[in-house]
Amino acid sequence: MKELGTILYAEDDERDIELTMEALDEHNLANSMKVVRDGEEALDYLYCRGSYEGRVGEDPMLVLLDIKMPKVDGMQVLRRIKSDARLKTIPVVVLTSSSEERDLAESYQLGVNAYVVKPVDFENFVKAVKEIGLFWMLLNEPPRQYRRQEASS
């Protein structure tokens, strides 16, 4: 089994966080979660600034993004990641309540790797979150560039 990196999870709703953690816990993925409560904090984490100044460790292996968040929203975070030469290879999955066409369209325009609507039904929700975790953390092969960076850091 390969060494797991961090999942950066940006979500403002603590109940969603709890449910998501619950879902991931079954696969021991919860430990590798780093939860931030808004877009600004997510960017601080990624750029090792603000309260994350001097953060050690590599970049996250996966970013889970909610769209509607205070201050900086998910779309803005997505735009920053995908337009940053260093960060753009990190897979970003939008995990949101909305299945609005314009959110979907904009996300893909910005280069999102997956777009998942949080199912209302808890069973389905757990299933969805688990699958995201399993796919991106365990099955997906990141690009070489990312792995080299990982190895050197």
Partner: protein, 544 residues
């Protein structure tokens, strides 16, 4: 003709002096010489000479005279009677009258134009001039001499030009255009300030309403004091520069539009050929006016459309914002409800009694229903707003897909499908698929209580060029009295205990079909199944 030869030697001019016995011989000699010279000159000039002895009735005709009228020498009897015979009978009385008047002393000179028969029998015009030369002591006329000339060519030319003038006069009088000849009048600086009417034709009177008698000799400022100086300036320039001009203008005093072609027949004058173009002008003007009105109306309409579009866009934006917020914010609490009920069940399920577990079940179920309602509402709102991507859709294969999808994981009685050939339609594939899923799941839902579900899908005959598709089932049917409610939002004809659902499915079908320009309707009866119809635009046949 049998005339006696003219005897030239008997010429009165030649012999005359011998008869003037009262004169001295040297005088007679001088006169004879002068007469000879005159005769020579006249003969050279080409005129024929004649001499008439009024007393004897003898006539002498010069060789030139005979030659002029085509007679060989001696061919005309030298008498006044044979001359009479040569004159055209129509002219004779006039000529004789003229001669008599002269002889009687009424005219200083005899001068007449008449037709004279030539040798070939044709008549030619003769211009004859003569004079009485002497009277005897009692005052009786003695003899007359004269010269004749053939003026036929000039006469014909005169007639032709008279005919020509007549033709032009007729043209002038009867042409469809007005005509006027004018003389320009200039001020001290030599600028045209008025003009005088010299001639006008009949059409001029008709087109201007002015009488020739009232305008001829008068100036335009006298006749039409309100004349626009434009006319005087423009037409005056034609008279002064000689350059022709075309004008098309309004005449204020006459209240008409005229199209005028003006030219300069001689310096200081101008002639106009003109027509009244008022009707044409008014037509063009009214066309222009109605065009302007049309454009203004169009602009107004466009403005209104824009305003309405703005209002509509605003409403749409609000609706979108609302639905966006529903989508994000309303679903979250529902999700939490189901999630935490589940966690609670996991956490404390064992500690709860049956009642407690039932309550939890109800909460979970209600939350799920709430979630479905929200999702259905959002979907309904999205089918109204989604852009249409119309292509040719093969209904046959789409229905096959939809059947498989709807049957997936479904529990219920065995289903007998009767699918007859389906046409191709013009539609948005994914929206149409959504509509078909709704129709087929509906049919499956309401046949669930049957022992055997029979679902028929086919094309119904249509006479308006649309493709009419029907989905028929042998399910519980519906009360035809409430058929109107069938396609309404959140309208249900069965309780949710009997058949689950939010009542949005058929509303969605209706909305999708109507967005394609089609329509939906239903037939059915309680306990006897239902048939739902969808009319859609047909795809054009290949090759046509």
């Amino acid at each position: 003709m049998g005339r006696k030869p003219v005897r030239a030697s008997r010429s009165a001019i030649a012999t005359g002096p011998r008869k003037r016995t009262g004169e001295p011989p040297e005088c007679v000699q001088a006169l004879a010489e002068s007469e000879d010279r005159l005769r020579l000159v006249l003969e050279i000039a080409g005129d024929g000479i004649w001499e008439w002895n009024i007393v004897t009735g003898e006539v002498w005709l010069s060789p030139r005279w005979l030659e002029t009228w085509g007679y060989p020498p001696g061919d005309v009897e030298p008498t006044i009677d044979s001359w009479r015979d040569l004159v055209h009978p129509d002219d004779l009385p006039r000529v004789v009258g003229s001669l008599e008047r002269h002889i009687a002393g009424g005219t200083p000179l005899y001068e007449e134009e008449y037709r004279l028969r030539t040798r070939s029998g044709t008549y030619r015009w003769n211009r004859s001039r003569g004079r009485l030369l002497g009277r005897d002591a009692r005052g009786r006329p003695q003899r007359m001499v004269g010269i004749d000339a053939d003026i036929t060519v000039r006469k014909e030319w005169d007639e032709a030009s008279a005919r020509g003038a007549q033709i032009y006069q007729q043209l002038f009088d009867h042409m469809n255009e007005g005509f006027g000849l004018h003389e320009v009048i200039c001020d001290d600086q030599g600028r045209p300030c008025d003009y005088r009417f010299l001639d006008v034709n009949g059409k001029f009177e008709e087109l201007t309403g002015l009488k020739a008698d009232d305008v001829l000799g008068r100036t335009v400022r006298e006749v039409l004091p309100g004349i626009d100086s434009y006319w005087i300036e423009e037409l005056g320039q034609v008279a002064l520069t000689g350059r022709p001009a075309r004008l098309e203008e309004y005449s204020t005093p006459l209240g008409r539009y005229y199209r005028v072609s003006a030219f300069c027949p001689m310096k200081g004058r101008f002639a106009c050929v003109f027509t009244d173009v008022t009707d044409h002008k008014r037509l063009v003007e009214s066309l222009r006016e109605s065009q302007a009105r049309f454009l203004a109306l169009n602009a107004e309409l466009e403005h209104q459309v824009m305003q309405r579009t703005d209002a509509l866009n605003l409403a749409n934006q609000e609706l979108e914002a609302f639905s966006y917020s529903v989508s994000h914010d309303l679903r979250a609490p529902v999700r939490h409800l189901t999630g935490f009920v589940k966690l609670l069940e996991r956490h404390a399920g064992a500690a709860l009694d049956d009642k407690g577990r039932r309550y939890l079940g109800i909460i979970a179920d209600s939350a799920r229903r709430m979630g479905r309602l929200i999702d259905d509402l959002l979907e309904f709102s999205q089918t109204g707003r989604a852009e249409l991507h119309t292509t040719t859709v093969d209904l046959q294969s789409l229905v096959d897909d939809v059947r498989l999808e709807c049957l997936d994981g479904l529990e219920g009685p065995p289903v007998v499908w009767k699918v007859s050939p389906l046409p191709q339609v013009r539609a948005d594939r994914s929206l149409l698929r959504q509509a078909l899923v709704n129709l087929v799941s509906n049919a499956l839902k309401f046949t669930r209580t049957r022992e055997r579900a029979v679902i028929e899908i086919g094309e119904a005959p249509s006479d308006d060029g649309t493709a009419v598709i029907f989905v028929r089932d042998n399910g519980v049917g519906f009360d035809a009295r409430y058929v109107e409610k069938l396609f309404g939002v959140f309208q249900r004809l069965h309780s949710s205990e009997e058949f689950e659902g939010t009542g949005i499915g058929l509303a969605n079908v209706k909305r999708i079909v109507e967005r394609h320009g089609g329509r939906v309707w239903a037939e059915g009866a309680v306990g006897r199944g239902a048939t739902l119809y969808v009319a859609l635009p047909k795809a054009e046949e290949r090759g046509s």
